[in-house]
Symmetry: C2
Subunit: 166 residues, 2 copies
């Protein structure tokens, strides 16, 4: 069971932490360039791709739901109401408060726990390892990276170490 608290909780803290600091840099960039930060809130990389807030919201949900499902804790629900960078930072703080509230002992046996992820196209079943490896970590990294890419594409001065938290 080395992977559950060795991997998921530290990954959530590191990469949602990076995302929080990336949002700080985005806000500072808008202030320095004297444009409305809502321009960045509405930014996306393609017309049919999700804009910045949804990237942050999904990253938060991946971490919080991953922890909930692997620990057998009730899956928390956060309404997607954020429309400003400070509100997105508060969403990250709420997700991390939940992630860090679950006792390590609750993850016992989670590598073989059956996890069901509901979606519009039907339920997907995983065992715990597959859920972490093939769903939670890839989605968390995907949405943090996409938020980074949206901001980078719009001129925010970011480098990969902002993502890696190194």
């Amino acid at each position: 069971m080395c992977w559950k608290d060795d991997i998921l909780v530290p990954t959530a803290n590191r990469f949602l932490g990076s995302l929080d600091k990336i949002l700080d840099k985005a806000l500072a960039f808008a202030q320095r360039k004297e444009f409305d930060p809502s321009v960045l809130i509405n930014a996306r990389l393609a017309p049919d791709m999700l804009a910045l807030p949804k990237q942050v919201q999904i990253a938060c949900d991946m971490a919080a739901r991953g922890v909930a499902r692997l620990s057998g804790t009730e899956v928390p629900s956060f309404p997607d109401t954020e429309t400003t960078i400070p509100e997105l930072k508060a969403r990250i703080a709420k997700a991390l408060a939940f992630v860090n509230s679950v006792p390590a002992a609750k993850f016992a046996g989670s590598e073989t726990r059956e996890v069901v992820v509901p979606s519009r196209r039907g339920d997907t079943k995983f065992d715990g390892v597959g859920y972490l490896r093939d769903y939670v970590l890839p989605n968390l990294h995907f949405h943090v990276t996409t938020a980074y890419a949206i901001l980078r594409h719009n001129g925010v001065e970011l480098g990969k170490n902002d993502y890696l938290g190194a």
Copy 2:
């Protein structure tokens, strides 16, 4: 030691496999739209970001070097010479051939193995878990996602399941 072959090798296969199929879709898109695929090879999301080939090359190196360093195998070196989509697909095939060539037994003890990653700014030391969690997986996902984002931004019809390999 559940994490080493339970996580790294399947992740490398799944996400480099996704990247390979994403490149197929990029090439098909260029052919259907009758433009030179080298347009996509030169695409990037910001003038000071890496273009598509380097994203693929780094994703491949993360997987291959991750497997090498965690298994105590010689770190393979692949020259960054690819300039076409078929060449990038061949690079992925070479990386996966190496990833899948290392016997599982070689990973014994790798969670505590000291790993040193050299860079221009000096060496970074990790234990095996930290190297996997904070460096290999995040970089692999970052560069596959960025390749996806570059192509998506340029009109290639991709959805998140192309990334997830679901």
